[in-house]
Symmetry: C2
Subunit: 155 residues, 2 copies
């Protein structure tokens, strides 16, 4: 009998982002979670909450960025990394650039709404003032399962 | 002697957005102002304030959208119009689409950072879920003068 392949463990920050996404689903919001890390420690975490907060800008990334900036007392998150379960949209990609996030790790790709490897490819635009390093597909299947489950229930 | 040309008066909402931009300049922030109007009444107004609020997402449009959503108790600003002194960036254009803003009136164009008629042309992307009507150049010279004056002083 052959040994089954072991899955490479997800980084703890992406695990935390997935936990945030689950909280969003429980609250009836599209399950996306985000975490901001600096020097190996989580500085802020958030889940998607536009309905609960009555705020169309309250995507997980936006809330995490705003909370991290508050926590660090600086509107620039230099040296911070963002872990998010879904490819950022144009709004969030723009905010990532404004915040000077160093690295972005994301789970599921979003061919329709994403703006990193799809659509306007925000960070490749000539006018983009800051280009983070981007790593895709970390926790992809877990993140995509959460989204699929959420939308299946609502159909 | 010939009569000099009279300037067409600016809409009061754009006057209010320009007043907000002046407040930003006085506070040492890049002078951009925004106002949200519904049924002819101003629902929210804001100026650019990322430094004061320690929030990289605190562009005038974002703050105005968030305040309007709070005031109206809804994360969708259906039937609302946005007046902003500068062409929105990718982050703000994305937020405008998420908020379902009906019409966007803006002053100065921003060939470097703008994302409406420049860069990724957010509302023309296939994945854009909502396309507002857009009117450019309203209060353009006043808005551009404010920005030029601000950056001249800082050089």
């Amino acid at each position: 009998m052959s040994e089954t392949a072991k899955r490479w463990p997800l980084p703890p920050a992406m695990q935390a982002a997935l936990d945030e996404a689950r909280k969003a689903a429980q609250a009836g919001e599209v399950p996306v979670g985000a975490v901001i890390v600096r020097d190996g420690a989580i500085v802020a975490s958030a889940h998607n909450a536009p309905r609960a907060l009555k705020d169309p800008t309250a995507h997980a990334e936006m809330l995490a960025i705003r909370r991290a900036a508050q926590a660090l007392g600086d509107d620039r998150l230099t040296g911070c990394d963002l872990y998010v379960t879904l490819e950022p949209c144009p709004m969030c990609a723009g905010a990532i650039a404004h915040a000077r996030i160093a690295r972005v790790y994301y789970g599921a790709s979003d061919p329709k709404g994403g703006a990193v490897e799809h659509g306007c490819r925000t960070f490749e635009q000539a006018g983009c003032l800051h280009r983070p390093e981007v790593y895709a597909g970390i926790g992809e299947s877990e993140a995509a399962d959460l989204l699929r489950g959420f939308f299946r229930e609502r159909r």
